[in-house]
């Protein structure tokens, strides 16, 4: 707990540097190529389209829990998932990517994985806004007060991802296999969690496990917010489980990171 506090307090003290690094990271991720920023949107659009196509025409499993339109339901689950998975991948290599800074200056290294979360979040928020326009104009869904819940879910995402990325980023400096493990985990979680298929397809114990999945909590939360008009606190069990899990991951991540970060410069 103490270790996470110290990282966060340096983050607040050095917020100017943090802002600078997020912008720099965003630019190098999306603006260094010829087409530039559009890539940030072309890629998820293509991804959503392929999954939608496969489920609508190939697997014929394209159905939602509440019986609404499949496409908006799919998009709203996929978008947070894409953000989660991309952040996990880029943060696992983030320390070696920024090794040039660690070798030069005294630098709050705990910031680096968080930089990746925030630079990804810029794109994520723009995507959400675009999607909202799409669902309002093409699917006739009306804005409601439930939409404000998105801030809660974004906050939950930041906390969850911070813990995960501190852990994977620091371990990957010493054991490069971490990046590979993360890739496999992402594929497994993608198909094992009810993101592209509805959890209603499960029965009994399996259904219960799916409901306790922290990633499902987020993806389903986006659907509650924009489509199903439910409050996040309607399901106390899911909330308790999610926050216990997230806080444990957060503490584990902070502990691992603080333990390993003094030796980063020795191995980079």
């Amino acid at each position: 707990m103490k270790s996470s506090k110290s990282i966060i307090s340096t983050l607040i003290k050095q917020r100017y540097i943090f802002k600078l690094l997020v912008i720099r990271d965003f630019k190098s991720r999306y603006l260094s190529s010829f087409i530039g920023l559009p890539w940030a949107f072309i890629q998820p659009t293509a991804y959503v389209f392929v999954i939608w196509f496969a489920f609508t025409f190939g697997l014929k499993g394209g159905q939602t829990a509440s019986g609404g339109e499949f496409a908006p339901w799919l998009i709203l689950g996929l978008i947070p998932w894409l953000f989660i998975s991309q952040t996990m991948v880029v943060s696992s290599n983030s320390i070696s990517q920024y090794s040039y800074l660690l070798k030069k200056t005294k630098f709050p290294v705990g910031m680096i994985p968080i930089i990746k979360i925030f630079s990804g979040m810029i794109v994520h928020i723009i995507l959400i806004i675009l999607i909202l326009f799409v669902i309002v104009f093409f699917y006739g869904i009306q804005p409601t007060v439930y939409w404000f819940q998105i801030f809660y879910y974004l906050f939950a995402l930041i906390v969850l991802l911070t813990g995960i990325s501190w852990f994977v980023a620091s371990v990957n400096v010493f054991i490069h296999d971490m990046a590979h493990i993360v890739t496999i985990l992402i594929t497994m979680l993608f198909w094992a969690t009810p993101i592209v298929w509805s959890y209603t397809m499960l029965t009994g114990k399996l259904k219960y496990i799916a409901l306790l999945n922290p990633f499902f909590y987020i993806t389903e939360g986006y659907r509650y917010t924009f489509l199903e008009q439910r409050w996040f606190f309607e399901f106390p069990e899911m909330n308790i489980f999610f926050w216990t899990f997230t806080l444990l991951i957060f503490i584990l991540g902070a502990y691992t990171f603080n333990k390993l970060s003094p030796s980063f410069a020795d191995v980079l």
Partner: protein, 438 residues
């Protein structure tokens, strides 16, 4: 120089231990071992280093490669965490360490300057105001708007140095950066360092150039194998270090018996009666660069003045010198020969001695160790640093190198005569220059 009593850099018994693993697997085994079994070897890069520097002082760190200089600088710059001990640096610290660090290779020089300036706490506007000064000092011309990856190492260093001095540091840490700059830029950097010193900033630098240390530092420490050997005024520390590097590196002292045998074997070989040597420092050659079919045949080497029978490392022309080789038991060698070659600092041979050509083949022993001595009068060669390479050959049909040791003995030739300082290799005694008017 404005020196005040305020202590800026302070370090108390710093140590750095690197854990060395034979393989990645060992590292993982150690991390997950339930009983905390260790799989690493410890390497002490620094042992118990304490320093304190006041405002306006310039500390020079000297030592051979791998002595821990860079590790110490990295710790002071807060890049590497010490294994034990404590340290503090007051104020803004900028460090010019290894060339790979610092800049983002994909960004242009200007983008890097603004970005790194931000990391040091300067706003974009402040950095934009400084950028002209930085680029003017670095003199990299149009490359300023090119990505760093297209820079030569010299340009990289120019920009890094220029940035480091323009972001108003209180402490400047410099690791041998001047090595890649051209002579003119080097002078400019050194002038800037002097300016910093006069402004009362604290500087730590390490260099292999003793002149730089003597000229700029107010204090020097000599590191060897992670420990402080000597601390004090730059002139005396560098002199002692020089003496160490030329002669007593890797020396061992063998008991008196072998010293006696040096004399007795010499008596047979040369029919002279040298004074009994008081002590001989033998150079252990086993760790030096060597090759051959019978490696480790040459165990130790030494060089003495025949008249004084004392070890020497600084030689003069016309000095009677003796090169000594201590050999292990050898296998039967057909037509053995001893070779010796004196090379200058560029590795170019100046002269060679070959026992076969001088028709004095050595008598090697298959059941006991042997000491061979080679006596000659040191020729007229220019002042400078030289090294003797020594070897044993077997001259059957083709020469077979039994054991050849490169740069076994390092010497310094030093003659007060001005003719020895001209920088070429051989010194001509008498020259007659005549002018005839036609």
């Amino acid at each position: 120089m404005k020196t005040t009593d305020e202590i800026i850099i302070y370090a108390n018994s710093l140590s750095k231990i690197y854990k060395l693993y034979n393989s990645k697997r060992d590292f993982i085994k150690e991390v997950f071992h339930p009983l905390r079994k260790t799989y690493h070897k410890k390497f002490h890069a620094l042992k118990d280093i304490s320093i304190s520097l006041k405002k306006g002082e310039v500390l020079g760190i000297i030592g051979k490669n791998g002595s821990g200089k860079s590790t110490l600088l990295k710790i002071l710059a807060s890049i590497v965490t010490p294994s034990s001990g404590e340290y503090s640096c007051k104020g803004r610290v900028t460090a010019l360490l290894e060339l790979s660090g610092g800049f983002n290779r994909e960004l242009t020089g200007i983008q890097n300057i603004i970005f790194l300036g931000g990391i040091y706490g300067f706003s974009r506007v402040e950095m934009t105001n400084k950028i002209k000064q930085i680029l003017d000092f670095a003199e990299i011309g149009e490359y300023a708007s090119q990505p760093i990856k297209s820079y030569s190492s010299g340009m990289y260093m120019r920009l890094a140095f220029s940035l480091a001095i323009h972001i108003e540091p209180d402490v400047l840490i410099v690791d041998e950066i001047l090595a890649v700059g051209d002579a003119r830029f080097k002078q400019k950097c050194l002038r800037k360092i002097t300016e910093f010193k006069d402004d009362g900033k604290t500087i730590v630098l390490c260099s292999h150039s003793m002149e730089t240390i003597k000229q700029f530092c107010t204090k020097a420490i000599w590191l060897n194998e992670g420990k402080i050997v000597e601390e004090g005024l730059p002139n005396s520390v560098t002199d002692h270090y020089n003496a160490f590097m030329v002669s007593h590196e890797n020396t061992v002292f063998i008991d008196e018996i072998s010293n006696k045998s040096v004399i007795s074997s010499n008596n047979k070989e040369t029919n002279k009666t040298p004074n009994k040597p008081t002590e001989i420092f033998w150079q252990d050659v086993s760790k030096l660069d060597s090759f051959g079919t019978g490696m480790n045949t040459i165990k130790y080497a030494g060089i003495i003045n025949i008249n004084t029978t004392k070890n020497i490392s600084t030689l003069k022309t016309n000095e009677n010198i003796r090169i000594l080789l201590h050999l292990a038991k050898t296998k039967m060698l057909k037509r053995p020969a001893i070779h010796l070659s004196l090379n200058n600092h560029l590795g170019i041979p100046v002269f060679k001695i070959n026992s076969n050509i001088y028709k004095q083949p050595p008598r090697l022993n298959t059941n006991s160790e042997t000491i061979i001595s080679i006596d000659f009068i040191f020729p007229k060669i220019a002042n400078g640093k030289y090294s003797f390479s020594l070897g044993i050959l077997s001259l059957i049909d083709e020469r077979e190198y039994i054991h050849w040791v490169n740069d076994a003995l390092l010497i310094q030739v030093s003659n007060p005569d001005i003719r020895y300082k001209v920088g070429s290799q051989i010194v001509i005694d008498n020259v007659k220059i005549q002018t005839t008017i036609v």
